[in-house]
Symmetry: C2
Subunit: 253 residues, 2 copies
C-alpha cells in the first residue's frame, strides 16, 4: 500500500490522515460533504479534493464519517474500490456487500484541538476477506504499535466499555467537581488524585487497586457522605457504593 484516499474531514479523518501521511503513505484524494473542511485537510496532507464517484481505483478509501452515513456513502463509491470505515459500532454484516470491505477503528477519543500519539492508540481491524485484512493490518502497523483483529461483536462490546471508560469517568469527575464548586474549592485540587488513580491502573488491576469506604464496609462514613449529597449525586453515590460492596462481598476484612 503506497497511497490511499480519505472520505470525511472530521476529527478521525484529521488524526488518522496525519498519522498515515507521516508514515510515508501518500494521501492522494479527500472527499467530504463539507467542502471547506475537505479543502483544508487536502492542503494539509498534500492531497486533491475529489468526488465520491471519481475516487481512484486500486487504492483503499478510508471512510471517516458518522455511523449513520456510512452505508449510504459506501454505496456511492465504485465497486472495485476497497473501503474500510472507522466506526466502533457499525457491524460489517449490516453494510451493503462489496468485494473488499473492512473496519479500521481507532479505540480513542479524538478531537481536533488535541494532539494524540496515534502510535499508542489500539487499532481494531476487521475485513471480509483474509487478503484485505492483511492489507489493513499492514496499514495499521505503520501508524500504531497496538493492532488487533477484532470481530464486529467484540468491537460492539469494546464500544460499550469505552462509554464506561470515557463518558462515565468524565461524568464522575463532573460530579466531583460539582462538590468542589459548591464549596468554593479549587477544581484543580482533584486532578493529581485522578492522574494517580489512572497511573496505578497501569500496573495494578482495578479490583486490587480499590480502596475507600465501600470496599472496607465503613458504613459510618458512607452514611455521612450520603447525608451531605442530594439528587442525582446521592442516587449515584448510593448505587456505585452498592455495586462496589457487591463486588467485594466475599472478601474477608
Amino acid at each position: 500500500m503506497t497511497s490511499i484516499s480519505i472520505v470525511g474531514s472530521g476529527n478521525v479523518a484529521y488524526h488518522l490522515g496525519r498519522a498515515i501521511h507521516n508514515s510515508g503513505i501518500r494521501i492522494t484524494h479527500i472527499y467530504s460533504r463539507n467542502t471547506e473542511h475537505a479543502d483544508q485537510l487536502a492542503r494539509e496532507l498534500g492531497a486533491d479534493v475529489s468526488d465520491l464517484e471519481s475516487l481512484p481505483g486500486n487504492q483503499l478509501a478510508l471512510i471517516c464519517i458518522s455511523d449513520d452515513a456510512i452505508s449510504q456513502v459506501i454505496e456511492r463509491i465504485p465497486a472495485d474500490i476497497p473501503v474500510a470505515y472507522t466506526s466502533g459500532s457499525v457491524e460489517i454484516d449490516k453494510l451493503p456487500e462489496r468485494e473488499h470491505l473492512g473496519v479500521f477503528y481507532p479505540l480513542q477519543t479524538l478531537s481536533k484541538g488535541t494532539d494524540v500519539d496515534i502510535s499508542e492508540v489500539p487499532m481494531l481491524i476487521e475485513a471480509n476477506t483474509a487478503s484485505f485484512q492483511s492489507n489493513l493490518l499492514e496499514l495499521a502497523n505503520k501508524i500504531s504499535r497496538s493492532v488487533h483483529v477484532v470481530d464486529s461483536a467484540q468491537r460492539a462490546q469494546l464500544h460499550i466499555a469505552a462509554v464506561w471508560i470515557n463518558n462515565f469517568t468524565n461524568h464522575l469527575v463532573y460530579q466531583a467537581q460539582e462538590i468542589t464548586r459548591k464549596n468554593n474549592l479549587d477544581d484543580s485540587l482533584l486532578l493529581p488524585l485522578l492522574k494517580e488513580t489512572v497511573r496505578k491502573l497501569g500496573s495494578q488491576s482495578p479490583y486490587d487497586a480499590q480502596t475507600g469506604p465501600a470496599r472496607r464496609r465503613d458504613l459510618k462514613t458512607i452514611e455521612k457522605h450520603m447525608a451531605s449529597l442530594e439528587g442525582d449525586a446521592r442516587e449515584l453515590y448510593k448505587m456505585i457504593t452498592k455495586s462496589i460492596q457487591e463486588t467485594y462481598r466475599d472478601e474477608k476484612l
Copy 2:
C-alpha cells in the same frame, strides 16, 4: 522547624516521612504500634524508635494513623507537644482540645509499593491557632507546590469528591474490564482511552469534554448497550446515562 517526630508507620507515614526527610528536616523519633514497621521506617529515615509518652517536646508530632485511633493516640501525647494529623474526614473540633492541634492532609492515594511525587500532591492545612497554622504551612511548602488552607467542613467535602475521583473511577474501570474479560479481549486495550480521558481534563472541564450517546441523546445506541448488559452493570449504565442526560437536558443539539 528543623526536626519533627512521626507517629505511625503505614503508607502515609512512609511517604510523608520520606518527603520531609528529603526536604532537609530531621525526623528524630518514630512511634508505631507495629514495632517492626516502626524499626524499619526509623532505619530508613535515620530516626530513633520512641514511646508515645516520651516523644521530644518543642517539636511537631505528625500523626499518620487510621481515623478511628487519632483521638485516643493524641490524648497520650504530652500536652506541650504540638500535633497535626493526616486524616481527610476527622474534624478538628471533635478531637480533645490542646494548645497546638492541626491537620496536615495529603489529598492523594498513597501506597507503599508506588512512588508518588509529593511535590505535586495538594496539602490541606488547618490549625487551631494562627501561629501553628503558619508552622504547618511552612512545613507543607517545603514538600509540596500545592498548599491550601482548608477548614474541616471543606476537607470533608473534598474527601467525598475524592471517593468519586478515586474509588468510583476505579469501579467504572473494573466494570469496563469485566466487559473485555467476558469477551476474551485484552484489558490493556482500554488503558490508552482512560489516559487520554484524564489528560483532556487537564485542559478542558468535564462538562465540555463530555461526548457519547447520553450527551447526544442517541437512544438507539443506549438501548443496544443496555440490552447487552445485565445485573449491576445494567443498572449502573442506566443511572449514569440518566444523570448525564439530565446534566445536558437544556443543551441544543
